[in-house]
């Protein structure tokens, strides 16, 4: 990435982040971010707290810029910064960075277990003969369904196609390999199948302070249809995806850009297919009223429980 300083260490945090993600696709963005930040702290040679307090936030903003304000990445960065603020009190730079490296490494190692814990809590909600509607592809949902299969539960899964990247197809392949009966439905067919569904599962890019959800586009309408059909809507998220944001509407998200669906003048021979992908949002916000429960590694909680956890985490 051009314009990224390496803080005189020869270490490029963005490069490392991308490398981590390429190495192990199962790792999620916040974890990759934290592990890159840990590496950065290991590499840097700051002698004063002030220096350290400058380097790390700068690296965070580099990461955010490089990934176009990815919600979950910024959640990881926030966790790291909060950890640093907590550890920085009354310590020298060296002590602090040592403590920070340790805490960060623990976090990275523990992150894998988070997903298992979510699956453990959530799989209890899947019962024999259930029909489950899943939106898009999500590693944490896959973990839950895999756990349910291991528990010898028999269930069917509808997977939404999830335009425009059609990640639902990937989910269907994995489910097929697991031996779970599954169908891929058009995003537009969600209303059609909803009455056959027993529960709806959605992953999360981030869980915000209101207890709402930021996730792959289409989640919001899915939740609305589920609410209208009075079906439970469960969201799955590891606690490191809790992010300090409070969107009031779709347009309040940091990912919203003014050029999205903005009625730009079109050329006489517009390639609508290309334009479709270019001008559509990739994430949406689901307000807490539409969410029945959240399965997290801290336990199963109501949306308001998320804001409680966030306040507790960020307030001391």
């Amino acid at each position: 990435m051009a314009g990224n300083s390496t803080f005189g260490t020869g270490f490029n945090v963005v490069q490392h982040y991308n490398a981590v993600l390429q190495q192990d696709p199962s790792i999620s963005a916040p974890v990759a971010a934290v592990s890159s930040l840990v590496r950065l702290v290991e590499q840097q040679r700051a002698t004063t707290m002030l220096e350290l307090m400058k380097i790390v936030p700068e690296a965070c903003s580099q990461l955010k810029r490089a990934t176009h304000d990815s919600i979950s990445l910024s959640a990881g960065c926030d966790v790291f910064l909060q950890q640093m603020a907590r550890l920085s009190q009354g310590q020298s730079a060296e002590e602090c960075s040592r403590a920070l490296i340790q805490a960060g490494s623990e976090f990275v190692q523990g992150a894998g277990r988070c997903r298992d814990r979510v699956a453990e809590f959530g799989s209890a909600f899947v019962r024999d003969d259930h029909t489950i509607l899943v939106h898009s592809y999500s590693r944490v949902i896959m973990g839950l369904l895999r756990r349910a299969v291991k528990q010898n539960k028999r269930f069917r899964v509808y997977v939404t196609e999830s335009r425009p990247d059609q990640s639902g197809l990937k989910a269907a392949e994995e489910l097929q390999a697991l031996g779970v009966p599954c169908e891929v439905v058009l995003d537009a067919a969600v209303g059609y199948i909803m009455e056959k569904v027993d529960l709806v599962l959605a992953g999360a890019e981030g869980v915000v302070e209101s207890g709402g959800l930021i996730n792959k586009i289409g989640t919001y309408q899915l939740a609305i249809v589920a609410k209208a059909a009075k079906k439970p809507f469960y969201a799955l998220a590891e606690s490191f995806k809790f992010v300090r944001l409070y969107p009031l509407s779709q347009y309040d998200l940091p990912t919203h850009r003014s050029d999205l669906l903005a009625f730009k003048d079109s050329k006489p021979t517009e390639d609508w297919h290309a334009r479709l992908a270019a001008t559509n949002p990739m994430l949406d916000y689901t307000p807490p009223e539409l969410i029945t429960l959240l399965f997290t590694d801290l336990g199963v909680m109501t949306p308001s429980g998320v804001s409680d956890e966030l306040i507790k985490f960020y307030l001391d």
């Binding site: 302070e209 409070y246 009031l248 003014s258 009625f263 306040i311 507790k312 307030l315």
Partner: protein, 709 residues
């Protein structure tokens, strides 16, 4: 008692300025001493003592006095026009001189105001008794209980501009003209007031004490019995007016909670600053939730700085009781707000934490410092953080609707504008307080209505993003807020305005543990409307206003406003123009072809001409005629023509203000609740200094912050 005229007040300058009496000199010295002490204490923490209330109260009092004067002279003119006798009803002592200066006229008008508001003075009630039965006069036989003093305020002024204690004092003076009462319009206002009342020798007969707490208090602080109250001519006690007003709610519900003067308060002197703050709160001069807490805490800092424990006793043991007496006085003036309760609880716990070994002076200065820090941290700095958060939530092109006048919202909006956000503000307002006018005034002063500037900066810098962002416009052409501006509308227009609103900002008095919001009456309505239009409701609120209590509806506990505030005042157009010095007559207003101007605070008013059909002066003259006719009876032989004229005028008056006779009409009640409860689900987000939180998270904040509070 000698006159102590303050030279700074122009209207007072006509009074003979005598040399300062020994007592006044002593008082001045004490004041100076106190001020110096305070300044030293405050300088340490970098608080500028000049920004204290003392100065502002003076200037406010002055301004108000001027307004009063204008109004009085208008009234006088109306009276003259109507041909009513110019006879003074205050004919007790002073001989009616041909040449009355402006001040006297004003006082007279003030007294008349009182009289026509059916609070009887000795002169009027005597005249009325001589004249015979009259519905208005029947009220004169009631004794207004002391804790119903708020009635007086209402009769002294319109509810929009409650009088300061200074104005009230002038009326007292006018009513007891032969016993001039000392005034001191500085910070020691209340003290002088108390002293003046105590020292004045009242002639036998009933008196009106306006603006003053009550005789009990005077008695308590001096130890001498001093009965000054509002007594009817007959002197017999009737039931409390307030209970009378709302019988269905008279047993506790909706009742003004009036603290009883406890025996512990006896013998403890109330600090003059507390008196001042108490009175200013009672007159609603200090009415905002934050303003009240700040002024009370500042007053407490003075109390603590001035306090010396009795000999051979420890400060930390006695200070709490001393403060309790001061608090009792404050609560007696106006029920405590949640924020005040929290702040006072905090202060008391700090006093208890003083270690026994600490030197008194050290302990005092420590407490004063802590109070300053509390105000800074929990209110001032918190407000800054909240304003920052709020600015984030305001986007270009937003149409922000707000209700009434909240200091936090005001700050936030102005901060957003300073940050270069381009948005429109709709101020929704309601009777009887019409606080929103103050907000409009502030916003216009901050340049919100300066459309050219907004367009100039907006057109050039944001030419790329603004037109591109059609999606945020959404709400229809010309209505989006890109070009700024302020709109002012009554709450009745709410459902129309909500359609174009993108965000609602509301001020809160308190939040309960269940997430319900306590706020000025009408807020729940606005929140409900926003909810049904799917508009987010954003409430900025400092955490010190959070309460651990739970209140399920607004009737469990409420503050009862004065019923008379619900009447339309004769001679005072309800649609008073916005702004302090705005002198537009209603007739000048014209219909604007532009939708935006039609309900805007800009000088091209929308007001259909029907407004001006019945000019205010006509009604005023009718009142004057009615009043003049009544009073003139004793002196002149009333011609039958005059009676019919009077009857006609009265009838017209009743047509105009059917509520004015509500006291004497059976089973007619007015209810003026001042607060309501907004259910938690109507509030989308609370902006606090600890971040943006949903209403469900209030218990967590209360729990997590318990040790810090």
């Amino acid at each position: 008692m000698k006159e102590v005229a303050s030279g700074s007040k122009p209207v007072e300058s006509s009074q003979p300025t005598s040399a300062l009496s020994a007592e006044a000199a002593e008082k001045a010295r004490q004041k100076e001493e106190r001020g110096r002490l305070k300044a030293i204490e405050l300088k340490k923490k970098g608080i500028n003592p000049d920004s204290k209330d003392a100065k502002s109260s003076m200037t406010k009092a002055e301004r108000r006095a001027l307004q009063e004067q204008q109004r009085a002279s208008k009234q006088l003119g109306a009276q003259a026009k109507a041909g009513g006798s110019g006879q003074q009803h205050r004919d007790g002592g002073s001989a009616a001189s041909g040449m009355r200066d402006a001040r006297e006229a004003r006082l007279d008008a003030g007294a008349q105001h009182v009289a026509s508001g059916s609070v009887a003075t000795s002169a009027t009630s005597a005249a009325a008794a001589a004249q015979g039965k009259n519905t208005r006069i029947s009220m004169a036989n009631r004794v207004v209980p002391e804790d119903k003093r708020m009635y007086l305020y209402l009769h002294l002024d319109t509810p929009q501009h409650p009088p300061s204690s200074a104005t009230a004092l002038e009326v007292v003076q006018s009513l007891n003209m032969n016993n001039p009462v000392a005034t001191d319009h500085g910070a020691g206002d209340a003290a002088a007031f108390v002293a003046g009342i105590r020292n004045a020798e009242f002639p036998p007969g009933p008196h009106v004490i306006a603006g003053m707490a009550r005789d009990d208090y005077v008695a308590a602080s001096t130890g001498e019995p001093c009965k000054v109250g509002i007594a009817g001519a007959s002197g017999e006690t009737t039931e409390a007016l307030l209970n009378d007003a709302i019988p269905p709610f008279s047993n506790g519900l909706g009742q003004r909670k009036v603290a009883k003067l406890s025996s512990s308060m006896m013998g403890i002197a109330i600090h003059p600053r507390i008196k001042e703050v108490g009175l200013r709160m009672a007159t609603m001069e200090i009415s905002g939730a934050n303003a009240r807490v700040v002024s009370v805490l500042e007053a407490f800092a003075d109390v603590i700085a001035d306090y010396t424990p009795p000999p051979q006793t420890a400060l930390y043991r006695n200070l709490a009781t001393h403060l309790s007496a001061q608090i009792n006085f404050l609560v007696y003036q106006r029920p405590m707000s949640t924020g005040m309760g929290n702040a006072i609880r905090w202060l008391k716990s700090q006093i208890l934490d003083i270690s026994a070994g600490m030197n008194d002076d050290e302990a005092k200065s420590k407490l004063v410092t802590m109070i300053g820090d509390y105000v800074k941290e929990r209110i001032t700095a918190a407000g800054d953080v909240i304003a920052e958060l709020g600015v984030e939530k305001i986007k270009d092109g937003d149409v922000v609707l707000t209700y009434g006048n909240s200091s936090t919202v005001q700050r936030l909006l102005i901060a957003a504008r300073d940050m270069g956000r381009r948005f429109r503000v709709i101020v929704v307002d309601s009777r009887p307080h019409n606080d929103g006018r103050k907000l409009v005034h502030k916003l216009v002063a901050a340049g919100f209505s300066n459309l050219e500037a907004a367009e100039a900066t907006g057109g050039s810098s944001d030419a790329t993003s603004a037109p591109a962002d059609l999606s945020t416009r959404g709400k229809g052409r010309g209505r989006n807020g890109l070009f700024g501006g302020v709109s002012y509308a009554p709450i009745t227009a709410l459902s129309f305005l909500m359609r174009e609103t993108t965000k609602v900002f509301l001020g809160a008095e308190s939040f309960f543990a269940n997430g319900a919001m306590l706020s000025r009456a009408g807020t729940a309505m606005v929140a409900l409307s926003a909810h049904s239009f799917h508009v987010p409701v954003i409430v900025p609120c400092e955490t010190y206003k959070f309460s651990e209590k739970i209140q399920l509806d607004a009737v469990v506990s409420n503050e009862l406003g004065v019923p008379d505030a619900l009447m339309y005042k004769t001679g005072v157009p309800d649609a008073e123009p916005v702004g302090l010095h705005c002198n537009h007559s209603l007739a000048e207003m014209e219909y604007s072809a532009y939708a935006r101007d039609r309900y805007s605070a800009r000088p091209r008013w929308n007001n259909r001409s029907s407004f001006a059909i019945d000019p205010a002066s006509e009604v005023a003259s009718a009142v004057a005629a009615a009043a003049g006719g009544k009073r003139g009876k004793g002196a002149k032989a009333a011609a039958p023509v005059a009676i019919s004229e009077e009857a006609k005028a009265l009838a017209r008056l009743n047509m105009r203000c059917p509520l004015s006779e509500w006291r004497s009409t059976h089973n007619l009640r007015l209810m003026n609740l001042t607060q309501d409860i907004t259910p938690p689900e109507f509030v989308s987000v609370i902006l606090t200094e600890v971040g943006m939180i949903p209403t469900t998270s209030i218990p967590v904040v209360l729990r997590e912050y318990q040790d810090q509070i």
